[in-house]
């Protein structure tokens, strides 16, 4: 199903298809007309996607068919070997983790996984991790340090799960611990916000040396819906909240929250998954290579300084 603002694009695509079919059936040459329409389609796509509102980007970030962490694990890495379990309570399917090769190098990957259909979404709890998921992530940080493997974290979650068991098992505690554990990594760490960077649940695996974000991904302190419910007392004001929160890739680049924006193919990542995955792979390869010359202390120091410096304030009047 197209997103609301994709409807005119889809209508035009259908029209072009119909014209092609008609030309074939009737054995007539409509290639000039079709070329014109294709040019118009390209312009429409570009106009639409160059001028997305923040709320529209939120929808693209959550769009069905957008590549998930697992899609990158299979498409951008080689030989992904999943490792399960937190060694305490269980295995949280909302976080997939394991070993893989990125180009020449072995790496540890910790990804937040939304479902690609309803069944998988239920299995993955819509990408909302329990404490067990963050404990698994911390175990992977230990593994990465021990074997000197760079860490890559594809981020895509509405947030850490707000439930009874999650609270009883110390959701806040494990997020804090994961933030601290990741900040102490002695290896290069790269986060890529591939869809939704939902609050503390995302930051728990986002304390990287370099934080990248896809052009239509978002990263926010709170979802627009929850923000609207609190500040406007109406979740329907999510569009206003999305604007106010400045949660898009370029907003975050300006604020220094992310270091680099990876362009998506025109029409969004969900329209050209392969090309998106290829671009993310290229970006990850370049970023890992740029961090490899740094020694352990320098990597940890850079990460600490990066996060220590974030914030805007001035001298008091």
């Amino acid at each position: 199903m197209p997103l609301p603002f994709e409807k005119p694009i889809e209508d035009l695509e259908i029209k072009i298809e119909e014209m092609r079919a008609y030309a074939g059936e009737q054995g007539i040459d409509l290639s000039d007309e079709i070329t014109l329409l294709e040019q118009r389609l390209e312009r429409l796509r570009r106009d639409t996607f160059d001028n997305l509102t923040r709320w529209q980007r939120v929808q693209v970030a959550r769009a069905a068919g957008r590549p998930t962490a697992m899609d990158y694990l299979q498409g951008a890495f080689d030989g992904f070997t999943e490792l399960h379990g937190d060694r305490t309570l269980g295995d949280d399917p909302a976080i997939v983790a394991g070993l893989a090769r990125l180009g020449e190098r072995s790496v540890v990957v910790i990804g937040q996984q939304k479902g690609r259909d309803t069944k998988e979404n239920i299995h993955r709890n819509f990408g909302m991790a329990h404490p067990s998921g963050y404990r698994k992530a911390m175990r992977m940080f230990d593994l990465a340090d021990k074997f000197g493997l760079p860490v890559i974290t594809p981020i895509d979650t509405p947030g850490a799960y707000p439930g009874i068991a999650a609270e009883e098992q110390g959701q806040a505690w494990v997020i804090a611990e994961s933030i601290r554990r990741m900040s102490r990594l002695q290896v290069p760490a790269i986060s890529v916000v591939i869809g939704e960077g939902g609050s503390g649940g995302a930051l728990a695996v986002g304390v990287a040396n370099r934080v990248l974000i896809l052009e239509n991904a978002i990263y926010s302190v709170i979802s627009p819906e929850s923000c609207a419910a609190i500040l406007w007392r109406d979740a329907a004001e999510a569009e206003k909240a999305a604007e106010a929160l400045k949660l898009t890739a370029y907003d975050l680049l300006e604020l220094g929250v992310v270091d680099r924006v990876i362009d998506e193919p025109v029409g969004g990542a969900h329209k050209d998954r392969e090309e998106t995955i290829r671009r993310v792979r290229e970006a990850m390869l370049a970023e890992v290579a740029s961090l490899m010359p740094l020694d352990r202390q320098a990597l940890e120091a850079q990460r600490r300084e990066r996060f220590r410096a974030l914030g805007r304030f001035r001298d008091a009047a």
């Binding site: 707000p162 009874i164 804090a176 601290r180 503390g200 926010s220 106010a244 604020l255 805007r312």
Partner: protein, 297 residues
């Protein structure tokens, strides 16, 4: 002892009225007893009848914990900007200005150096009355600076938290304060200096999910709401009733999340004892002399 004197004193001020229902008399929200307001204030905002802990003003908290005359403020030198140009039902700068006027400080936090029963500490106290104690750039920076200064001056750090979480009006920058405060605590760890957090009602969201729960020792006041997600959010998500006492201090103690629940009257002494015990170790003293990171890990 200074603490005893303080408990006997009556000093209700206008500012303190935010923390307990106004009026000369009030009905305790826990036991329904009629309490004379002055008695409540004189009792450190603890109901004299049932021991219910009311929220407490920042100044009273400092008096409760710092030795008389020892508190030297560190915070107050910086104030928030409006990095997003955030407007909801009113512009963020207006909201801030109103709160600054009303509460007489630049943001939702006070930090400073003090002695606590003779122990040199850095003291962080969050102000829930100021925009819900929310953590934006200024709160995060003041905490980070307090941690760093405490480390440099060889002080233990005590943080008394009260917060609704991250400050939405500063967007992702508030979220980043969770990481900022966390990395700032590393200096204390490297020098083997204790960080003790005291969670008070309410401590939720991004504050709970960062420095507040990274204390070497974590205490909470009785009956405090302590959570990652608020009870309402959880109820909306799971659509069922929450267990009795859910997310309250006593419940979390039972779940293994806290070192202890400590009543307000016992808090100062408990902090002093804890800090002394932690700092008495010879290994800790070696570290304070500058044996670094490797040992601390």
């Amino acid at each position: 002892m200074a603490l005893e004197r303080w408990f006997r004193r009556n000093r209700p001020t206008r500012k303190e009225d935010d923390n307990a229902p106004a009026g000369l008399w009030l009905k305790c929200e826990a036991c329904s007893a009629q309490i004379y307001r002055k008695d409540l204030v004189a009792n450190a905002y603890v109901c004299p009848e049932c021991g219910h802990h009311y929220r407490m003003p920042v100044e009273a908290r400092i008096e409760l914990l710092a030795d008389a005359g020892s508190f030297e403020p560190w915070s107050g030198g910086i104030q928030a900007e409006d990095p997003l140009g955030f407007v909801d039902t009113q512009p963020y700068p207006e909201r801030l200005e109103k709160n600054r006027q009303k509460h007489g400080r630049p943001d939702a936090i006070v930090t400073g150096g003090a002695t606590l029963d003779g122990e040199a500490i850095g003291l962080v106290v969050m102000d829930f009355q100021f925009l819900g104690g929310s953590m934006g750039s200024v709160v995060g920076e003041e905490i980070a600076r307090a941690a760093e200064r405490s480390a440099q001056e060889g002080r233990a750090l005590v943080a008394v938290t009260a917060s609704g979480g991250a400050r939405m009006q500063e967007g992702a920058l508030s979220l980043m304060q969770m990481a900022k405060t966390t990395v700032a605590l590393e200096l204390l760890a490297e020098r083997g200096l204790p960080f003790v957090s005291v969670l008070t009602d309410p401590t939720t969201g991004g504050v709970t999910a960062s420095f507040a729960t990274l204390g070497d020792v974590i205490y909470a006041e009785p009956g405090a709401l302590i959570s990652f997600a608020g009870p309402r959010v959880i109820q909306q998500t799971i659509k069922q009733d929450l267990p009795e006492g859910f997310q309250r201090s006593e419940f979390l103690l039972e779940k293994g999340m806290l070192d202890d629940v400590v009543s307000r009257k016992a808090l100062k002494e408990r902090l002093a004892v804890t800090i002394r015990l932690l700092r008495a170790g010879s290994v800790a003293r070696e570290r304070e002399k500058g044996v670094g990171r490797a040992a601390a890990l």
